[in-house]
Structure formats: C-alpha cells, structure tokens
C-alpha cells in the first residue's frame, strides 16, 4: 500500500474502491465494462439503472459471491479498506465477514429467529451462550427488529412477515460485524410500509457502515443515498453526489433515465 492510499484509508476516503472492473460470464459475455468508482467510509452509494445493466453484478463482485456462478471471470481491482479482495488467495470467510450482504428476496434460514442471527457467529466459532445472546440482541436492535421479536426468539423465522424477514436478514449480516454492507434491491419484494422501515434503517445504519445499495426505485436512491451511480449496459454512465445527480445530471442518458424518458 502506498503512503497516499494509507492516508486515504485512515481518513475513510474511498473505503471501497473499484478500479477498471471487467466481469465476464460464460467466458466471453461481458457484463461489466471498465467500471471505476469508490465510496467513502460510512456513506451510502445507490446504484441505479435498468434491469441487466450490471449493477447487481457490480456489488456481487465486492464480496465475491459472484464466484458462485460457474465460468465467471473478474478483471481489474477492488479494494476494501485498502486491501484487495480479488485473486485466488483471498480468505473468503474473512472477506465476507467484513463485507455483509442482503439479498433481493428475504432469505432467512428455516430455523428459529435466534439461530438465524447467531448463524454467522457460530460459523466463526463463537460458542459462548452469553456472547451469542448479547450479539443477537445487539444485531436485532440495530436492525430495528428487537421490539417485535424479543418475546419469540425461538419462533420460526418463516412465521415473520416479509419486511420482518428482510430486517432479520440484515440482523444476520450485522451479527458478524462487517463494516461494509451490500444490498441487492432489498425492498423489491416488500410492500411500501415495509420498504419505508428498511429505508429508515438504512439511514440509521450509515453512521456505522459503508453501504452499497442496488435499487430500481429512483425515489429510494434519492432518499437514502449520499452518492448515486447510473449503470447502463454494463458501463458506469455517471456517478456523483445524490443531490447533484438528480438535480443537475451531466449526461444525457442520466437525464433521460431519471426523468423517465428511457430505461
């Protein structure tokens, strides 16, 4: 690491850095073209764009969950806190502990609420009951779910509503104490009220976490994010402060997209 980038990490500038990222599916189908962008520490970046534009692919590269898809190739560099996350020698367990993920559809395990939140901790070898209890409560409080479930931690997570399930999934991700959260359209399967709660939650979480959120909903991007980026056919079109992005877009495509003329 150079002196300059060390300083950057300490100041929290460019905490997540993506440089010249190219992603290929099935050997030759290119999903991302030379994407370069970064997010400062404890800021929210919203990725918007039409379906299939590569925004999900982009955040899935950050915690390497993209590796699950066979025949995928990633080129370029991604750094989280100054350390690269690409390459075969990366410890996935450690990386995914630092970079948590919330998925498009709520995906709690068919287990109890408690076990869902404790899952990551147990995976990482935490056995002590007291520690588990404490972190489970902490994670549920931080995902604004504690008050609703504190009396039924042993109930099945499948009995929760969709919105509660999604907050449970956020709690599950928080429990292993990441510092980056990736959210892949976390509200797309939820009703407006549940969506509102998740958005409030994101506002609260950005004090402690660097968040990359993919969304189809431009109002949502405007409400929750500090920065917004528009992806189009695998390319990054424009990226800047959310306020400027929506009020004063630089690119024609962006203007057309946010005014609803295309996309």
């Amino acid at each position: 690491m150079t002196e300059k980038s060390k300083d950057a990490v300490q100041s929290g500038k460019e905490y997540v850095q993506i440089r010249n990222l190219n992603v290929f599916y099935n050997h030759d189908k290119q999903a991302l073209h030379d994407v370069t962008l970064s997010v400062d520490r404890n800021k929210v970046l919203a990725l918007i764009g039409p379906s299939g534009c590569g925004k999900s692919t982009l955040i899935k590269a950050v915690n390497r969950i993209l590796d699950l898809i066979p025949e995928t190739r990633i080129e370029g560099d991604i750094r989280v806190g100054g350390e690269t996350v690409l390459g075969p020698q990366i410890d996935m367990t450690e990386l995914r502990q630092r970079v948590g993920m919330v998925f498009q559809r709520p995906n709690p395990f068919p287990q109890t609420i408690y076990d869902n939140v404790a899952y990551g901790l147990r995976i990482h070898g935490v056995r002590d009951r007291g520690t588990l209890d404490e972190i489970v409560e902490w994670a549920l409080r931080n995902s604004a779910l504690w008050e609703e479930v504190k009396d039924r931690l042993k109930a099945s997570a499948m009995d929760l509503s969709g919105g509660q399930q999604q907050r449970l999934c956020i709690a599950r991700a928080l429990a292993v104490q990441p510092d980056v959260l990736l959210m892949d359209e976390p509200c797309s399967a939820l009703d407006p009220i549940a969506t509102g709660k998740i958005e409030e939650l994101i506002q609260a979480l950005k004090k402690d976490y660097t968040i990359l959120i993919v969304t189809h909903n431009m109002q949502q991007a405007a409400r929750v994010s500090n920065y917004t980026a528009l992806m189009w056919l695998g390319k990054l079109i424009e990226h800047g402060k959310t306020k400027d992005f929506f009020t004063n877009p630089k690119e024609k495509i962006t203007e057309d997209y946010i005014t609803g003329r295309s996309g």
Binding site: I65, M92, E94, R105, P110, Q111, Y119, I123
Partner: protein
Amino acid sequence: MLVEKVLLVCGLLSTITIALIFIFLFKEGFKAFSDAGITEFLYSVTQQTQYNPATDEIEVTGESIGFVWQPAGTPPRLSILPLLWGSFGVAFLAAIISTLAGIAIGIFLSEMATRRVRDLVKPALELLVGIPTVVIGFFMLAVLARPIRESAGFLGLDGIYRDTYNMMVGALGVSIVIIPVIASLVDDALRAVPKDLRAASLGVGATRWQTTWRVVLPAGVSGVVAAVVLGFGRAFGETMIVLMCAGNAPQMSMNPFEGVRTMTASIAAEMGTAAQGSTWQHTLFLLGAILVSISFVLNLTVEVIANRYRKRIRL
C-alpha cells in the same frame, strides 16, 4: 366432456385396483386364522417322544417351542416369524448401507459435482434403477457372492461366515437398487433448497461444507428422510434379489452371514406349490396382507413428511 370422463375412469381405475387388492388379500389372508389358531403362525410346538419298550408305546416326554416355517411338512409348521425376521433383517441392513451411500452420493451430486460430472452420474444412477432385479440377483449370485465371501475372510469374519448366500449378500444386492433411488431423491431434495439460502450462508463467511451441513441438509431434511423411508419400502418389497442370493432358508439367526428367507421370497417361491384353498395358501395371502400394510404405512409416512417439507420450504 368425453375426454374428461375417460380420464376420470383411468384415475379411478388405480384407486379401485388398490382397493380390490386390499380387500382380496385381507379376505384370503384372514381365512388362515380360521384354519389354525393365531399362535400357530407365531411358533410351533413339537412333542418330544420316546419309545417305551415296557409298554411298547411311544410316550410323550415333553414339548419344545420352535419358530419353523415348514408349511409342507406333517404336521405343517406355519411360524411366519423367520420370514418376518428375514424381511426386516435384509431391509434394515440394506437401508443402513444405502442410506449412508445414497446420502453421500446425493450430497456429492447436488453440492459438489460440476455440471459435467452430474450429467454423467445422474443418468447412470437412473439407469441402474431400471435394471431388472432378476439380473442384479443373478449377478450377485453368480459373480459377487464369492468375492464378498473372500473379502469377509480378509476381514477375519471367516468364523461366522456360515453361508455363501446370506442376509448380508441379499442386503448388498438390494442396495445396488436402493442406493441410486435414495441418491437421486436426496439430490432432488437438496436441489429444491433455494439457492438464496446457500448464498445467505456463504454471504456471512461460511464455507461450502458448513453451508451444506448447517443450512442445506437441515432445510432439506424432510426430503432426505422421505428418500430413506421410500428406500426402506423398496428394500422391504424387493423379491427377486433376495430370493436368489439371500440363501432362501427360513431361519432366525442374529448372524447376518447366515441364509434367510423373506416374506416376498416365500410368496414367490411357494405360491405355485401351495394347494388352492389350503392353509398354506391362506398363510401366503396373510404374508401378502402384511407386506401391503407395511408399504402402506411407509408411503403414508413419506406423504406426511413431504407435506411438512412443503410447508417448511415456503418462502
């Protein structure tokens, strides 16, 4: 609509067939109880006799109880316990062997195999299920029975290896058919576990193994159990393989290396010999009724488990 009616009749036909089988088996089977007392189907009493030269008569000196299936003897001995023993013994052994192997193969196929390996192995497994069991029985009998005996010898089991054709050989033969059944069903059950759950587990830093053991298997456990129960049912009803290579000797021994005869093998082997309307024939029907009842219970179990499975997996 004519088509609808034809289809309805076709659908009802299978139900009617099952009902008729049940009625017929139980009707004929229960006749056995009017031919002989219920205890005769459990054990037989043999009188111990001795010739007394003083009176020139044969005197009864005592009685002994035996579990003997000799329906053609005089008097006929009708204890079905050795046959039940044979059936349960073979089915349990086969179930243990095929559950372990089948689940291992199922996990491999669903969680580890690349698509190419899967595309090769899965059709092969399904083909194996389709091989006529008489061929597998013949293969065990003619080809594998002796090597199995020899390998048991290597393991130092010579002392207890009584018969070349025995419960264990029968169970191994049955396993050839059951393992692919269980493996295929376990594979299906695990693949039905949503990909999202795997991603969630890997997403908090779990390894593939941890994901398989802690998330995928528990989520698919009902399907796995259903597979095992179904495999057990299949093992229980298996006829040709056990008839050919399990020794066909109705005896009760704790030693798995002694010959046994199963209920199915008895029915297949003796149906042609037993006289129409005889106690022997009624007893064979009774065996049939027992077999049908057991497979009915097993299928019911699978249905109940599968229902729970559907409820649990809803997302």
